[in-house]
Symmetry: D2
Subunit: 146 residues, 4 copies
Protein backbone atom coordinates (compact mmCIF):
# COMPACT_ATOMS: atom_id res chain seq x y z
CA UNK A 1 0.00 0.00 0.00
CA UNK A 2 1.27 3.47 -0.84
CA UNK A 3 2.34 5.65 2.05
CA UNK A 4 0.24 8.86 1.96
CA UNK A 5 3.27 10.65 3.45
CA UNK A 6 5.73 9.55 0.76
CA UNK A 7 7.68 12.63 -0.26
CA UNK A 8 7.34 14.31 3.14
CA UNK A 9 10.82 14.28 4.70
CA UNK A 10 9.52 15.22 8.15
CA UNK A 11 6.60 13.54 9.88
CA UNK A 12 5.52 13.44 13.50
CA UNK A 13 3.08 11.15 15.25
CA UNK A 14 0.53 12.51 17.74
CA UNK A 15 -2.28 10.67 19.52
CA UNK A 16 -5.71 12.22 19.07
CA UNK A 17 -6.91 13.32 22.50
CA UNK A 18 -10.56 12.85 23.43
CA UNK A 19 -10.76 16.57 24.19
CA UNK A 20 -9.67 17.40 20.63
CA UNK A 21 -13.24 16.63 19.58
CA UNK A 22 -15.90 19.32 19.58
CA UNK A 23 -19.66 19.17 20.00
CA UNK A 24 -20.00 17.57 16.53
CA UNK A 25 -17.90 14.65 17.88
CA UNK A 26 -15.16 15.13 15.31
CA UNK A 27 -11.69 16.56 15.86
CA UNK A 28 -12.16 20.34 15.85
CA UNK A 29 -10.76 22.28 12.87
CA UNK A 30 -8.34 24.28 15.04
CA UNK A 31 -6.57 21.10 16.16
CA UNK A 32 -5.30 20.42 12.63
CA UNK A 33 -3.74 23.89 12.59
CA UNK A 34 -1.97 23.07 15.86
CA UNK A 35 -0.73 19.79 14.38
CA UNK A 36 0.55 21.64 11.30
CA UNK A 37 2.47 23.95 13.62
CA UNK A 38 3.93 21.05 15.60
CA UNK A 39 5.18 19.35 12.45
CA UNK A 40 6.48 22.63 11.00
CA UNK A 41 8.47 23.36 14.17
CA UNK A 42 10.24 20.01 13.83
CA UNK A 43 11.10 20.78 10.20
CA UNK A 44 12.29 24.34 10.76
CA UNK A 45 14.40 23.36 13.79
CA UNK A 46 15.93 20.53 11.78
CA UNK A 47 17.20 22.88 9.03
CA UNK A 48 18.60 25.41 11.50
CA UNK A 49 15.93 28.11 11.28
CA UNK A 50 15.59 28.28 15.07
CA UNK A 51 19.31 28.54 15.80
CA UNK A 52 19.35 31.96 14.15
CA UNK A 53 16.68 33.15 16.56
CA UNK A 54 18.83 33.04 19.65
CA UNK A 55 22.16 33.88 18.01
CA UNK A 56 21.08 36.62 15.59
CA UNK A 57 17.48 37.59 16.45
CA UNK A 58 16.39 36.31 13.05
CA UNK A 59 13.49 33.89 12.93
CA UNK A 60 10.54 32.54 10.93
CA UNK A 61 7.14 34.26 11.15
CA UNK A 62 3.93 32.61 9.98
CA UNK A 63 2.42 34.83 7.27
CA UNK A 64 -0.39 32.59 6.13
CA UNK A 65 -1.92 29.18 6.69
CA UNK A 66 -4.52 27.13 4.85
CA UNK A 67 -6.17 23.78 5.53
CA UNK A 68 -8.42 21.60 3.40
CA UNK A 69 -10.36 19.15 5.50
CA UNK A 70 -10.76 15.84 3.64
CA UNK A 71 -12.18 13.34 6.14
CA UNK A 72 -13.30 13.78 9.76
CA UNK A 73 -11.20 12.25 12.53
CA UNK A 74 -12.50 10.84 15.80
CA UNK A 75 -11.03 9.64 19.07
CA UNK A 76 -9.40 7.15 19.47
CA UNK A 77 -6.85 7.44 16.68
CA UNK A 78 -3.29 8.61 16.10
CA UNK A 79 -2.26 11.01 13.38
CA UNK A 80 0.91 11.36 11.37
CA UNK A 81 1.56 14.91 10.27
CA UNK A 82 4.00 15.47 7.44
CA UNK A 83 5.83 18.62 6.32
CA UNK A 84 7.78 19.45 3.20
CA UNK A 85 9.04 22.62 1.57
CA UNK A 86 7.33 23.27 -1.77
CA UNK A 87 9.04 26.52 -2.67
CA UNK A 88 11.80 28.82 -1.39
CA UNK A 89 11.79 32.50 -2.27
CA UNK A 90 14.28 35.19 -1.30
CA UNK A 91 12.92 35.82 2.20
CA UNK A 92 10.03 33.35 2.44
CA UNK A 93 9.21 29.69 1.99
CA UNK A 94 6.03 27.71 1.41
CA UNK A 95 5.51 24.49 3.33
CA UNK A 96 2.99 21.77 2.66
CA UNK A 97 1.42 19.78 5.47
CA UNK A 98 -0.54 16.56 5.37
CA UNK A 99 -2.44 14.78 8.16
CA UNK A 100 -2.97 11.02 7.92
CA UNK A 101 -5.09 9.07 10.41
CA UNK A 102 -3.47 5.77 11.37
CA UNK A 103 -6.83 4.00 11.66
CA UNK A 104 -7.67 4.57 7.98
CA UNK A 105 -4.22 5.37 6.52
CA UNK A 106 -6.02 8.01 4.49
CA UNK A 107 -5.42 11.73 4.17
CA UNK A 108 -7.56 13.57 6.71
CA UNK A 109 -6.36 17.07 5.85
CA UNK A 110 -3.86 18.93 3.70
CA UNK A 111 -2.63 22.47 3.83
CA UNK A 112 0.09 25.00 3.38
CA UNK A 113 1.94 27.56 5.45
CA UNK A 114 3.93 30.55 4.24
CA UNK A 115 6.84 31.49 6.49
CA UNK A 116 8.80 34.72 6.25
CA UNK A 117 12.26 34.95 7.74
CA UNK A 118 12.31 38.10 9.84
CA UNK A 119 15.18 40.14 11.21
CA UNK A 120 14.05 41.51 14.57
CA UNK A 121 17.05 43.87 14.69
CA UNK A 122 16.07 45.67 11.50
CA UNK A 123 12.34 44.89 11.73
CA UNK A 124 12.29 43.66 8.15
CA UNK A 125 12.28 40.40 6.20
CA UNK A 126 15.69 38.78 5.87
CA UNK A 127 17.11 36.68 2.99
CA UNK A 128 17.18 32.97 3.80
CA UNK A 129 20.86 32.10 4.37
CA UNK A 130 22.59 29.67 2.00
CA UNK A 131 23.41 27.03 4.66
CA UNK A 132 19.69 26.75 5.43
CA UNK A 133 18.82 26.53 1.73
CA UNK A 134 21.34 23.70 1.43
CA UNK A 135 19.91 21.78 4.36
CA UNK A 136 16.40 22.13 2.96
CA UNK A 137 17.71 21.03 -0.46
CA UNK A 138 19.21 17.91 1.09
CA UNK A 139 16.02 17.07 2.98
CA UNK A 140 13.92 17.58 -0.13
CA UNK A 141 16.16 15.43 -2.35
CA UNK A 142 17.39 18.42 -4.36
CA UNK A 143 14.01 18.95 -6.03
CA UNK A 144 13.54 22.27 -7.78
CA UNK A 145 12.13 24.58 -5.09
CA UNK A 146 12.19 27.86 -7.03
Amino acid sequence: MDDPLAGFPVAIEIPVQWGDMDAFRHVNNTVYIRWFESSRVVYTRKVGLWDLLESERVGPILASTRCDYRRPLTYPDTVRVGSRVARIGRTSLTMEHRVVGLASNEIAAEGTAVLVLFDYNKSEPCPIPDPIRRRIGELEGHRDLS
Copy 2:
Protein backbone atom coordinates in the same frame (compact mmCIF):
# COMPACT_ATOMS: atom_id res chain seq x y z
CA MET B 1 -11.89 57.02 11.05
CA ASP B 2 -13.06 54.18 8.82
CA ASP B 3 -14.30 51.06 10.53
CA PRO B 4 -12.16 48.10 9.38
CA LEU B 5 -15.25 45.93 9.79
CA ALA B 6 -17.50 48.02 7.55
CA GLY B 7 -19.31 45.62 5.24
CA PHE B 8 -19.23 42.74 7.75
CA PRO B 9 -22.82 42.21 8.88
CA VAL B 10 -21.81 39.99 11.80
CA ALA B 11 -19.06 40.83 14.28
CA ILE B 12 -18.29 39.46 17.73
CA GLU B 13 -16.05 40.87 20.43
CA ILE B 14 -13.70 38.61 22.40
CA PRO B 15 -11.08 39.56 25.00
CA VAL B 16 -7.58 38.25 24.27
CA GLN B 17 -6.67 35.88 27.08
CA TRP B 18 -3.12 35.90 28.43
CA GLY B 19 -2.91 32.18 27.71
CA ASP B 20 -3.68 32.80 24.02
CA MET B 21 -0.05 33.86 23.66
CA ASP B 22 2.64 31.33 22.82
CA ALA B 23 6.36 31.26 23.59
CA PHE B 24 6.93 34.08 21.07
CA ARG B 25 4.68 36.27 23.26
CA HIS B 26 2.18 36.86 20.48
CA VAL B 27 -1.28 35.38 20.14
CA ASN B 28 -0.75 31.92 18.70
CA ASN B 29 -1.85 31.30 15.10
CA THR B 30 -4.42 28.66 16.10
CA VAL B 31 -6.33 31.18 18.22
CA TYR B 32 -7.31 33.20 15.14
CA ILE B 33 -8.81 30.06 13.62
CA ARG B 34 -10.86 29.56 16.78
CA TRP B 35 -12.03 33.19 16.60
CA PHE B 36 -13.03 32.71 12.94
CA GLU B 37 -15.08 29.71 14.01
CA SER B 38 -16.76 31.64 16.83
CA SER B 39 -17.75 34.46 14.51
CA ARG B 40 -18.87 32.01 11.80
CA VAL B 41 -21.10 30.14 14.24
CA VAL B 42 -22.91 33.39 15.08
CA TYR B 43 -23.45 34.10 11.38
CA THR B 44 -24.61 30.63 10.42
CA ARG B 45 -26.98 30.39 13.39
CA LYS B 46 -28.41 33.79 12.51
CA VAL B 47 -29.38 32.72 8.98
CA GLY B 48 -30.95 29.46 10.13
CA LEU B 49 -28.23 27.00 9.11
CA TRP B 50 -28.19 25.38 12.55
CA ASP B 51 -31.95 24.92 12.80
CA LEU B 52 -31.80 22.42 9.95
CA LEU B 53 -29.35 20.34 11.92
CA GLU B 54 -31.77 19.28 14.59
CA SER B 55 -34.91 19.21 12.48
CA GLU B 56 -33.56 17.60 9.30
CA ARG B 57 -30.06 16.30 10.04
CA VAL B 58 -28.69 18.76 7.50
CA GLY B 59 -25.83 21.00 8.58
CA PRO B 60 -22.75 22.97 7.51
CA ILE B 61 -19.36 21.24 7.33
CA LEU B 62 -16.08 23.16 7.18
CA ALA B 63 -14.32 22.15 3.96
CA SER B 64 -11.45 24.61 4.01
CA THR B 65 -10.03 27.50 5.98
CA ARG B 66 -7.32 30.07 5.32
CA CYS B 67 -5.80 32.85 7.40
CA ASP B 68 -3.42 35.66 6.47
CA TYR B 69 -1.70 37.07 9.52
CA ARG B 70 -1.20 40.84 9.13
CA ARG B 71 -0.03 42.13 12.53
CA PRO B 72 0.78 40.31 15.76
CA LEU B 73 -1.57 40.67 18.71
CA THR B 74 -0.57 40.67 22.38
CA TYR B 75 -2.34 40.54 25.72
CA PRO B 76 -4.04 42.72 26.91
CA ASP B 77 -6.34 43.57 24.02
CA THR B 78 -9.81 42.77 22.74
CA VAL B 79 -10.58 41.64 19.22
CA ARG B 80 -13.55 42.15 16.99
CA VAL B 81 -14.05 39.32 14.53
CA GLY B 82 -16.22 39.94 11.51
CA SER B 83 -17.90 37.50 9.10
CA ARG B 84 -19.57 37.99 5.76
CA VAL B 85 -20.62 35.72 2.92
CA ALA B 86 -18.64 36.40 -0.25
CA ARG B 87 -20.22 33.78 -2.48
CA ILE B 88 -23.02 31.20 -2.44
CA GLY B 89 -22.87 28.17 -4.69
CA ARG B 90 -25.38 25.36 -5.04
CA THR B 91 -24.33 23.39 -1.97
CA SER B 92 -21.52 25.53 -0.53
CA LEU B 93 -20.72 29.05 0.53
CA THR B 94 -17.54 31.05 1.06
CA MET B 95 -17.24 33.26 4.12
CA GLU B 96 -14.70 35.98 4.76
CA HIS B 97 -13.41 36.68 8.26
CA ARG B 98 -11.52 39.66 9.58
CA VAL B 99 -9.89 40.19 12.99
CA VAL B 100 -9.40 43.73 14.27
CA GLY B 101 -7.53 44.53 17.49
CA LEU B 102 -9.29 47.21 19.52
CA ALA B 103 -6.00 48.69 20.75
CA SER B 104 -4.84 49.57 17.23
CA ASN B 105 -8.15 49.46 15.30
CA GLU B 106 -6.12 47.78 12.56
CA ILE B 107 -6.64 44.50 10.76
CA ALA B 108 -4.69 41.78 12.56
CA ALA B 109 -5.75 38.91 10.31
CA GLU B 110 -8.03 38.07 7.40
CA GLY B 111 -9.21 34.79 6.06
CA THR B 112 -11.84 32.67 4.41
CA ALA B 113 -13.81 29.55 5.15
CA VAL B 114 -15.64 27.30 2.73
CA LEU B 115 -18.69 25.59 4.17
CA VAL B 116 -20.58 22.75 2.54
CA LEU B 117 -24.16 22.02 3.51
CA PHE B 118 -24.32 18.30 4.21
CA ASP B 119 -27.26 15.96 4.42
CA TYR B 120 -26.41 13.35 7.06
CA ASN B 121 -29.38 11.20 6.00
CA LYS B 122 -28.08 10.76 2.46
CA SER B 123 -24.40 11.30 3.29
CA GLU B 124 -24.07 13.83 0.50
CA PRO B 125 -23.95 17.60 -0.03
CA CYS B 126 -27.33 19.28 0.01
CA PRO B 127 -28.54 22.35 -1.93
CA ILE B 128 -28.75 25.45 0.25
CA PRO B 129 -32.47 26.10 0.79
CA ASP B 130 -34.04 29.30 -0.55
CA PRO B 131 -35.12 30.69 2.84
CA ILE B 132 -31.49 30.59 3.95
CA ARG B 133 -30.32 32.23 0.71
CA ARG B 134 -32.86 34.98 1.32
CA ARG B 135 -31.72 35.60 4.89
CA ILE B 136 -28.09 35.77 3.76
CA GLY B 137 -29.10 38.12 0.95
CA GLU B 138 -30.80 40.42 3.46
CA LEU B 139 -27.80 40.40 5.80
CA GLU B 140 -25.44 41.11 2.91
CA GLY B 141 -27.52 43.97 1.52
CA HIS B 142 -28.53 42.04 -1.60
CA ARG B 143 -25.03 42.16 -3.06
CA ASP B 144 -24.36 39.73 -5.92
CA LEU B 145 -23.11 36.56 -4.21
CA SER B 146 -22.93 34.29 -7.26
Copy 3:
Protein backbone atom coordinates in the same frame (compact mmCIF):
# COMPACT_ATOMS: atom_id res chain seq x y z
CA MET C 1 -31.01 39.17 43.77
CA ASP C 2 -27.64 38.53 45.39
CA ASP C 3 -24.60 38.81 43.15
CA PRO C 4 -22.76 35.46 43.20
CA LEU C 5 -19.52 37.45 42.76
CA ALA C 6 -20.06 39.72 45.77
CA GLY C 7 -16.79 39.82 47.67
CA PHE C 8 -14.67 39.21 44.56
CA PRO C 9 -12.79 42.48 43.89
CA VAL C 10 -11.72 41.40 40.40
CA ALA C 11 -14.04 39.90 37.79
CA ILE C 12 -13.72 39.52 34.05
CA GLU C 13 -16.35 38.75 31.44
CA ILE C 14 -15.68 36.26 28.65
CA PRO C 15 -18.06 34.95 26.00
CA VAL C 16 -18.32 31.16 25.84
CA GLN C 17 -17.05 30.10 22.42
CA TRP C 18 -18.83 27.29 20.58
CA GLY C 19 -15.50 25.46 20.34
CA ASP C 20 -15.16 25.49 24.15
CA MET C 21 -17.62 22.60 24.18
CA ASP C 22 -16.44 19.01 23.95
CA ALA C 23 -18.11 15.88 22.62
CA PHE C 24 -20.47 15.86 25.65
CA ARG C 25 -21.78 19.25 24.43
CA HIS C 26 -20.78 21.03 27.61
CA VAL C 27 -17.91 23.44 28.12
CA ASN C 28 -14.83 21.24 28.58
CA ASN C 29 -13.25 21.10 32.04
CA THR C 30 -9.94 22.58 30.84
CA VAL C 31 -11.67 25.79 29.70
CA TYR C 32 -12.56 26.71 33.30
CA ILE C 33 -8.88 26.42 34.23
CA ARG C 34 -8.03 28.80 31.39
CA TRP C 35 -10.71 31.24 32.63
CA PHE C 36 -9.28 31.03 36.17
CA GLU C 37 -5.89 31.93 34.72
CA SER C 38 -7.30 34.87 32.76
CA SER C 39 -9.00 36.30 35.83
CA ARG C 40 -5.91 35.66 38.00
CA VAL C 41 -3.67 37.50 35.55
CA VAL C 42 -5.89 40.58 35.81
CA TYR C 43 -5.72 40.44 39.61
CA THR C 44 -1.97 39.87 39.90
CA ARG C 45 -1.19 42.60 37.35
CA LYS C 46 -3.45 44.99 39.23
CA VAL C 47 -1.52 44.57 42.50
CA GLY C 48 1.87 44.94 40.85
CA LEU C 49 3.03 41.32 40.81
CA TRP C 50 3.93 41.49 37.11
CA ASP C 51 5.93 44.70 37.34
CA LEU C 52 8.52 42.88 39.44
CA LEU C 53 9.00 40.36 36.66
CA GLU C 54 10.58 42.73 34.21
CA SER C 55 12.35 44.98 36.70
CA GLU C 56 13.67 42.38 39.16
CA ARG C 57 13.17 38.94 37.60
CA VAL C 58 10.78 38.07 40.41
CA GLY C 59 7.37 36.69 39.47
CA PRO C 60 4.46 34.48 40.49
CA ILE C 61 4.51 30.74 39.71
CA LEU C 62 1.41 28.55 39.82
CA ALA C 63 2.02 25.81 42.39
CA SER C 64 -1.41 24.26 42.49
CA THR C 65 -4.90 24.62 41.11
CA ARG C 66 -8.24 23.07 41.95
CA CYS C 67 -11.70 23.33 40.41
CA ASP C 68 -15.09 22.10 41.60
CA TYR C 69 -17.57 21.88 38.77
CA ARG C 70 -21.06 22.82 39.97
CA ARG C 71 -23.25 23.15 36.87
CA PRO C 72 -22.48 22.48 33.19
CA LEU C 73 -22.23 25.43 30.80
CA THR C 74 -23.24 25.44 27.16
CA TYR C 75 -22.87 27.78 24.19
CA PRO C 76 -24.24 30.43 23.83
CA ASP C 77 -23.54 32.10 27.16
CA THR C 78 -21.11 34.54 28.73
CA VAL C 79 -19.24 33.91 31.96
CA ARG C 80 -18.04 36.22 34.68
CA VAL C 81 -14.94 34.93 36.43
CA GLY C 82 -14.07 36.38 39.81
CA SER C 83 -10.81 36.31 41.78
CA ARG C 84 -9.99 37.17 45.36
CA VAL C 85 -7.07 36.50 47.68
CA ALA C 86 -8.04 34.24 50.57
CA ARG C 87 -4.69 34.06 52.31
CA ILE C 88 -1.20 35.54 52.07
CA GLY C 89 1.77 33.67 53.47
CA ARG C 90 5.43 34.69 53.53
CA THR C 91 6.23 33.73 49.91
CA SER C 92 2.89 32.44 48.63
CA LEU C 93 -0.75 33.37 48.34
CA THR C 94 -3.99 31.49 47.84
CA MET C 95 -6.57 32.83 45.41
CA GLU C 96 -10.17 31.82 45.06
CA HIS C 97 -11.91 31.81 41.69
CA ARG C 98 -15.60 31.62 40.85
CA VAL C 99 -17.29 31.21 37.47
CA VAL C 100 -20.84 32.50 37.01
CA GLY C 101 -22.85 31.94 33.84
CA LEU C 102 -24.79 35.05 32.82
CA ALA C 103 -27.72 33.02 31.50
CA SER C 104 -28.46 31.49 34.90
CA ASN C 105 -26.62 33.90 37.24
CA GLU C 106 -25.61 30.78 39.14
CA ILE C 107 -22.20 29.50 40.15
CA ALA C 108 -20.92 27.12 37.47
CA ALA C 109 -17.55 26.38 39.09
CA GLU C 110 -15.36 27.37 42.02
CA GLY C 111 -11.73 26.78 42.69
CA THR C 112 -8.45 27.88 44.15
CA ALA C 113 -4.93 28.57 42.98
CA VAL C 114 -1.76 28.71 45.05
CA LEU C 115 0.86 31.11 43.71
CA VAL C 116 4.46 31.25 44.88
CA LEU C 117 6.53 34.37 44.31
CA PHE C 118 9.77 33.20 42.76
CA ASP C 119 13.13 34.95 42.45
CA TYR C 120 14.63 33.81 39.15
CA ASN C 121 18.01 35.33 40.08
CA LYS C 122 18.39 33.15 43.18
CA SER C 123 16.15 30.31 41.94
CA GLU C 124 14.21 30.32 45.18
CA PRO C 125 10.90 31.58 46.58
CA CYS C 126 10.88 35.25 47.48
CA PRO C 127 8.99 37.06 50.29
CA ILE C 128 5.99 38.99 48.99
CA PRO C 129 6.98 42.70 49.20
CA ASP C 130 5.04 45.01 51.53
CA PRO C 131 3.75 47.34 48.79
CA ILE C 132 2.07 44.36 47.12
CA ARG C 133 0.61 43.17 50.44
CA ARG C 134 -0.80 46.66 50.92
CA ARG C 135 -2.41 46.76 47.49
CA ILE C 136 -3.97 43.34 48.04
CA GLY C 137 -5.19 44.50 51.47
CA GLU C 138 -6.85 47.51 49.90
CA LEU C 139 -8.53 45.41 47.19
CA GLU C 140 -9.73 42.89 49.75
CA GLY C 141 -11.16 45.53 52.10
CA HIS C 142 -8.50 44.89 54.77
CA ARG C 143 -9.91 41.48 55.66
CA ASP C 144 -7.62 39.23 57.71
CA LEU C 145 -5.60 37.28 55.10
CA SER C 146 -3.21 35.49 57.46
Copy 4:
Protein backbone atom coordinates in the same frame (compact mmCIF):
# COMPACT_ATOMS: atom_id res chain seq x y z
CA MET D 1 15.97 3.33 38.59
CA ASP D 2 12.48 3.40 40.05
CA ASP D 3 9.64 4.07 37.64
CA PRO D 4 7.75 7.16 38.82
CA LEU D 5 4.60 5.56 37.37
CA ALA D 6 4.91 2.28 39.29
CA GLY D 7 1.48 1.52 40.71
CA PHE D 8 -0.37 3.31 37.92
CA PRO D 9 -2.13 0.59 35.87
CA VAL D 10 -2.91 2.97 33.00
CA ALA D 11 -0.40 5.32 31.38
CA ILE D 12 -0.42 7.13 28.06
CA GLU D 13 2.41 8.80 26.20
CA ILE D 14 1.93 12.20 24.56
CA PRO D 15 4.52 14.41 22.82
CA VAL D 16 4.72 17.95 24.18
CA GLN D 17 3.73 20.28 21.34
CA TRP D 18 5.62 23.56 20.90
CA GLY D 19 2.30 25.41 21.11
CA ASP D 20 1.63 23.89 24.55
CA MET D 21 4.03 26.50 25.93
CA ASP D 22 2.79 29.92 26.99
CA ALA D 23 4.52 33.30 27.15
CA PHE D 24 6.62 32.09 30.12
CA ARG D 25 8.07 29.43 27.80
CA HIS D 26 6.85 26.56 29.94
CA VAL D 27 3.99 24.19 29.23
CA ASN D 28 0.85 26.09 30.25
CA ASN D 29 -1.01 24.90 33.35
CA THR D 30 -4.18 24.06 31.38
CA VAL D 31 -2.32 21.51 29.26
CA TYR D 32 -1.72 19.24 32.27
CA ILE D 33 -5.47 19.21 32.94
CA ARG D 34 -6.03 18.14 29.32
CA TRP D 35 -3.43 15.37 29.74
CA PHE D 36 -5.15 14.20 32.95
CA GLU D 37 -8.40 14.00 30.98
CA SER D 38 -6.78 12.04 28.16
CA SER D 39 -5.33 9.49 30.57
CA ARG D 40 -8.57 9.29 32.54
CA VAL D 41 -10.58 8.59 29.39
CA VAL D 42 -8.35 5.60 28.62
CA TYR D 43 -8.84 4.26 32.15
CA THR D 44 -12.61 4.75 32.31
CA ARG D 45 -13.13 3.23 28.84
CA LYS D 46 -11.00 0.26 29.84
CA VAL D 47 -13.21 -0.59 32.84
CA GLY D 48 -16.44 -0.23 30.90
CA LEU D 49 -17.64 3.15 32.17
CA TRP D 50 -18.22 4.45 28.64
CA ASP D 51 -20.19 1.44 27.43
CA LEU D 52 -22.98 2.34 29.84
CA LEU D 53 -23.26 5.76 28.24
CA GLU D 54 -24.60 4.54 24.93
CA SER D 55 -26.51 1.54 26.20
CA GLU D 56 -28.09 3.00 29.36
CA ARG D 57 -27.52 6.78 29.30
CA VAL D 58 -25.38 6.42 32.42
CA GLY D 59 -21.93 8.02 32.37
CA PRO D 60 -19.15 9.58 34.42
CA ILE D 61 -19.21 13.34 35.15
CA LEU D 62 -16.16 15.24 36.37
CA ALA D 63 -17.04 16.79 39.73
CA SER D 64 -13.65 18.13 40.73
CA THR D 65 -10.04 18.26 39.59
CA ARG D 66 -6.80 19.31 41.26
CA CYS D 67 -3.23 19.61 40.03
CA ASP D 68 0.03 20.22 41.90
CA TYR D 69 2.73 21.48 39.58
CA ARG D 70 6.13 20.09 40.61
CA ARG D 71 8.57 20.97 37.82
CA PRO D 72 8.10 23.02 34.64
CA LEU D 73 8.11 21.23 31.29
CA THR D 74 9.42 22.63 28.02
CA TYR D 75 9.34 21.64 24.37
CA PRO D 76 10.78 19.31 23.12
CA ASP D 77 9.83 16.48 25.47
CA THR D 78 7.32 13.67 25.75
CA VAL D 79 5.17 13.02 28.79
CA ARG D 80 3.78 9.86 30.30
CA VAL D 81 0.52 10.40 32.13
CA GLY D 82 -0.61 7.78 34.61
CA SER D 83 -4.02 7.13 36.17
CA ARG D 84 -5.12 4.97 39.05
CA VAL D 85 -8.23 4.74 41.19
CA ALA D 86 -7.56 5.67 44.80
CA ARG D 87 -11.04 5.22 46.20
CA ILE D 88 -14.48 4.01 45.11
CA GLY D 89 -17.60 5.27 46.87
CA ARG D 90 -21.22 4.37 46.21
CA THR D 91 -21.73 6.66 43.22
CA SER D 92 -18.32 8.29 42.83
CA LEU D 93 -14.64 7.47 42.50
CA THR D 94 -11.40 9.35 43.05
CA MET D 95 -8.62 9.01 40.51
CA GLU D 96 -5.00 10.00 40.88
CA HIS D 97 -2.99 11.31 37.93
CA ARG D 98 0.73 11.73 37.55
CA VAL D 99 2.72 13.40 34.74
CA VAL D 100 6.31 12.33 34.13
CA GLY D 101 8.58 14.04 31.60
CA LEU D 102 10.63 11.53 29.61
CA ALA D 103 13.64 13.88 29.43
CA SER D 104 14.07 13.96 33.23
CA ASN D 105 12.08 10.86 34.27
CA GLU D 106 10.85 13.01 37.14
CA ILE D 107 7.35 13.86 38.27
CA ALA D 108 6.26 17.11 36.62
CA ALA D 109 2.77 17.21 38.13
CA GLU D 110 0.36 15.20 40.25
CA GLY D 111 -3.34 15.54 40.78
CA THR D 112 -6.72 14.03 41.41
CA ALA D 113 -10.10 13.91 39.78
CA VAL D 114 -13.44 13.03 41.34
CA LEU D 115 -15.90 11.37 38.99
CA VAL D 116 -19.58 10.85 39.69
CA LEU D 117 -21.54 8.24 37.79
CA PHE D 118 -24.67 9.97 36.55
CA ASP D 119 -27.94 8.56 35.30
CA TYR D 120 -29.19 10.91 32.59
CA ASN D 121 -32.61 9.20 32.60
CA LYS D 122 -33.28 10.03 36.25
CA SER D 123 -30.99 13.08 36.40
CA GLU D 124 -29.33 11.77 39.53
CA PRO D 125 -26.13 10.00 40.61
CA CYS D 126 -26.13 6.28 40.00
CA PRO D 127 -24.45 3.49 42.02
CA ILE D 128 -21.33 2.15 40.34
CA PRO D 129 -22.27 -1.33 39.01
CA ASP D 130 -20.50 -4.37 40.41
CA PRO D 131 -18.94 -5.49 37.09
CA ILE D 132 -17.17 -2.13 36.87
CA ARG D 133 -16.02 -2.33 40.49
CA ARG D 134 -14.59 -5.77 39.70
CA ARG D 135 -12.69 -4.56 36.64
CA ILE D 136 -11.24 -1.65 38.61
CA GLY D 137 -10.30 -4.06 41.42
CA GLU D 138 -8.46 -6.27 38.94
CA LEU D 139 -6.60 -3.30 37.40
CA GLU D 140 -5.65 -2.01 40.84
CA GLY D 141 -4.40 -5.38 42.10
CA HIS D 142 -7.27 -5.79 44.58
CA ARG D 143 -5.99 -2.99 46.84
CA ASP D 144 -8.48 -1.69 49.38
CA LEU D 145 -10.31 1.13 47.58
CA SER D 146 -12.92 1.91 50.24
